[in-house]
Symmetry: C2
């Protein structure tokens, strides 16, 4: 009997690949076991159950995203930082649609707090410090940016922009430019 050499990490990594190739909803223990050349039950040593498997992929995705974002932000500020951060988001979702879908999973509060999610918000706040926003306005702006990035990327992934011109990337560039000017002159109530 040749051992496959599974570890939790290798299982999760293979799960992430499966999700990217087959879609997040086809990430199941049996499909994964098939791909790993292993009996289904063997996975249960590394993962609590099917849901736990998906959560672990989500955490991996959030972590990878935060890592890329941090790297992209190094040495940038203002508009440059905004665009770099946004592009990381979009590129990641296009490269890894399954992982991105996983990252959208609703995590229970404790898990969410321990995930890389808060790091994202922190980076957005850091970007906004390059603009001149007072206290709560910064929060509103964080939420606006988060909404736009997530919304655009998931509509694009869903094919929502496929049947109209101009192509999606052009809108992306123009939208980022528009957000930049909006942040420079954020309207007070």
């Amino acid at each position: 009997m040749v051992r496959a050499g599974l570890t939790t990490e290798r299982v999760v990594r293979a799960a992430a690949e499966l999700a990217d190739e087959a879609g997040f909803d086809r990430l199941t223990p049996s499909e994964l076991a098939r791909r790993l050349g292993v009996q289904v039950a063997s996975l249960y040593s590394h993962v609590k159950n099917a849901h736990d498997l998906r959560v672990k992929v989500a955490l991996l995705a959030l972590d990878e995203l935060a890592g890329r974002a941090a790297a992209a932000l190094a040495g940038r500020a203002g508009r440059d930082a905004l665009v770099a951060f946004a592009d990381v988001y979009r590129d990641y979702a296009r490269e890894h649609p399954g992982r991105y879908a996983a990252a959208q999973l609703r995590l229970d509060p404790a898990t969410a707090a321990a995930s890389a999610g808060p790091r994202h918000a922190e980076m957005l706040r850091a970007i906004l410090r390059g603009y001149d926003l007072a206290g709560p306005d910064e929060t509103h702006a964080v939420r606006l940016l988060g909404s736009v990035f997530h919304g655009f990327v998931s509509l694009e992934a869903q094919g929502g922009f496929d049947h109209s011109s101009p192509a999606a990337p052009e809108s992306w560039v123009r939208i980022l430019a528009a957000l930049d000017t909006l942040l420079q002159d954020w309207p007070r109530p």
Copy 2:
């Protein structure tokens, strides 16, 4: 044998309620049959399979949303129209989380084209005619608004705004105001 009096419409309506109460991912033929007091196989006269059931709920949701939006837009223009449309979106998602999740389902192109989806885009365009946007800029703006609405609503539904203040509705109001001013003075390249 007392008949339950199923029709495709009643099945889909019950499915929508189930999705709202239990979550879209728990919308399954067996759960639905249980709730309708009917054998699972009976559903298959009204619905092709589990996926078809979900698609039908998605189409119902898109249609309901478009109907509400059209009603809300009657007699409004400019900022009023923008806010009314946005609120329809957010309120619907909060009232009917399962249906809203269903509406996010990726439909095949033919089904999508025949759905109420295009009506949404058309209404957004109509709203934007109250602002002064040239050709492709209107498309960019449609996409921005679509992204913000969808992004905010799904982040909120996911609980993304739960653990920071101010509360989400305040951000919603401020974000809509910000979008209004942005549209009034849309930056050209």
